[in-house]
Subunit: 342 residues, 2 copies
DNA sequence: CTGAAAGCGCTTACAG
DNA sequence: CTGAAAGCGCTTACAG
């Protein structure tokens, strides 16, 4: 039942040449004579031959694949980065495998084992840490034999892989500074999960801005979420039970800002009249939310593009050194969710 | 410089057995003796051997890869479906390649050529049509040698691939019916791009509901967008220049509904007080938008899960027949963007 | 339970 | 410009 694959040998036979010649005609056309090339072309058409890239890649000791390790592809923030990655991948002859970790360690183990199995030529790390296979045997051989990796979005402290990020501390400083400039003094921060680099960087920026303004940097000004809308809602509920309700809230991403605003509205507070809110990321919906979100814009697609380009460079010239850190510009986008304090 | 790969032969040598035995120890452990198994295990650990899956797959005449052809991965609607696909793929030992067509025919040609090159064992089609390679030579051999495919989200008229969708006509009927029940008579529809199956199905549902209510089905009640927020905004601007402004608008997706509402607000109309709006899809933000969107819920993750499960079945039992059409439930979610007409 | 050998579909150094 | 042959890393029918 199973039909035999049509291979390069079938084409060779029909064209009356060797398989070596067919291979050359296909991939190094300038090395074969016009006439032979034509016969091969015809034979390919007649047989309906389609190259087996896997076999080719095995021979060439490559896979043509890269894997993108993402905490959550259903999150638009990451999927837009993926889109950038994918665009340069196709252009450069690579395909990208989805590695959705869901922040689940066991899923990371799985992907780590893929990495080991030479499934991919390189890895794009968007999840903030190096995946490690199950069990302690990890460190010995494993760490020394990692394929080329580049890190994006979330830096990995202590690693020296090429990294593409924005300056999260500075951006958070700008966002908070904007609130301060508008006269707010009682400002609170809703961050991501604890022990997360992004959370820490943005919190540092928040404190840095307070410090410059001479506002005390109390730890009770920090609330923790998990970057989801719901966690923003939950955070707001904690915030209104606080002793003196803040006049402004800086959220570590737009989803949480939306959660905060939506919970505020439900609780009868109007944004920005009574409480100002600023977000982070500038996801697509921010502009059309009500009120339109004041937020930090991240060049998401570009981050993906630059990262994939670095990876391609790494793969093409294994020796060559690559800039370790690339910092892309972020920008404060002033819209309507924050206003002057009066 | 380039270090030689550690292969199964290295392990065999160290363990003092043949490579065949190593292979068996790894993949058919019950066929080899306890003692041998242990020696192999030790040799693997000592050498740091990692299997080359590509070589294995070549030998097994499979790739372990499926490609998901998506119109736009940066769209949360699709990325959530991808997430479902990916979850069963990992479980079943497949990896999923991203094929982002961006609705660009030239990109579809590229992916069609991948399909030809035996890069994937199967294809998931979310983009509403079969990708065809550049040039007319397509039809002859091409169509008869397609790998197993399953279609999801958007049915492909005239094809008989297994298909997983919701009943878009019925869902649009429900959505429109909800507006009618609340007393609206002057209702207008913002659809997707012309010549799109989704657009057509949802429009049919819209008209079907009007018909049941005895409301005339004028073509000038139809406006066209492209499923983006911006196109919703644009559509609204056309709508208010219409002779008698409608009291309700049914949009073919949530993004356009958000665009419509946001443009309405800018133009000084309040939603739902003056104009009711209902969307479609129930994207994550719908619930937290202002006003919270009344919309049709689609089981996105489940669509992806079921589709990938069908594909796995197709790949495992090439002979076995598969249900051609699976219709998953959709549901009207009543929130606050539409209200009784008075 | 295990090994020698053939073969999956391709590419390339070597020789002509 | 072209062919014969070796080999990429694996698996499995065959024989023992």
């Amino acid at each position: 039942m199973k039909k035999r694959n049509i291979t390069i040998d079938d084409v060779a036979r029909l064209a009356g040449v060797s398989n070596a010649t067919v291979s050359r005609a296909l991939h190094k056309p300038n090395v074969v004579s016009e006439k032979t090339r034509e016969r091969v072309r015809a034979a390919v058409a007649e047989t309906g031959y389609t190259e087996n890239v896997m076999a080719r890649n095995l021979r060439l000791d490559r896979t043509g694949l890269v894997v993108a390790l993402v905490p959550d592809i259903s999150n638009p923030f990451f999927s837009e980065i993926l889109s950038g990655i994918e665009s340069v991948a196709t252009r450069e002859g690579y395909n990208v495998l989805i590695g959705n970790t869901n922040n689940d360690p066991s899923r990371e183990h799985i992907y780590a084992s893929y990495i080991k199995s030479n499934l991919a030529d390189g890895i794009l790390l968007l999840n903030g840490h190096i995946p490690v296979p199950e069990g302690a045997e990890a460190n010995a051989n494993y760490m020394n034999n990692l394929p080329p990796m580049v890190v994006l979005c979330e830096r990995i402290p202590g690693s020296n892989f090429p990294t593409i990020i924005i300056d999260n501390v500075d951006a958070a400083d700008k966002a908070t500074g904007h609130l301060i400039e508008m006269g707010h003094k009682n400002i609170v921060h809703v961050g991501g999960p604890k022990n997360n680099v992004l959370t820490e960087d943005r919190r540092s920026g928040f404190f840095q801005a307070l410090e410059k303004a001479g506002i005390p940097q109390d730890q009770d000004k920090i609330f923790f979420g998990d970057f989801s809308i719901n966690s923003g809602k939950k955070a707001f509920k904690e915030i209104i039970h606080t002793e003196n309700i803040p006049t402004a809230i800086f959220c570590a991403n737009d989803e949480m800002a939306i959660g905060v605003i939506s919970a505020a509205r439900e609780a009868g507070f109007s944004v920005p009249e009574e409480i100002s809110v600023v977000g982070f990321d500038d996801i697509e919906l921010s502009e059309s939310y009500y009120p339109p979100l004041t937020t930090i814009h991240q060049p998401r697609r570009e981050i993906g593009i630059v990262a994939m380009e670095k990876l391609v460079a790494l793969l093409s010239n294994p020796g060559e050194p690559i800039d370790e850190l690339t910092i892309l510009d972020s920008e404060l986008i002033v819209r309507k969710s924050a206003k002057v304090f009066d």
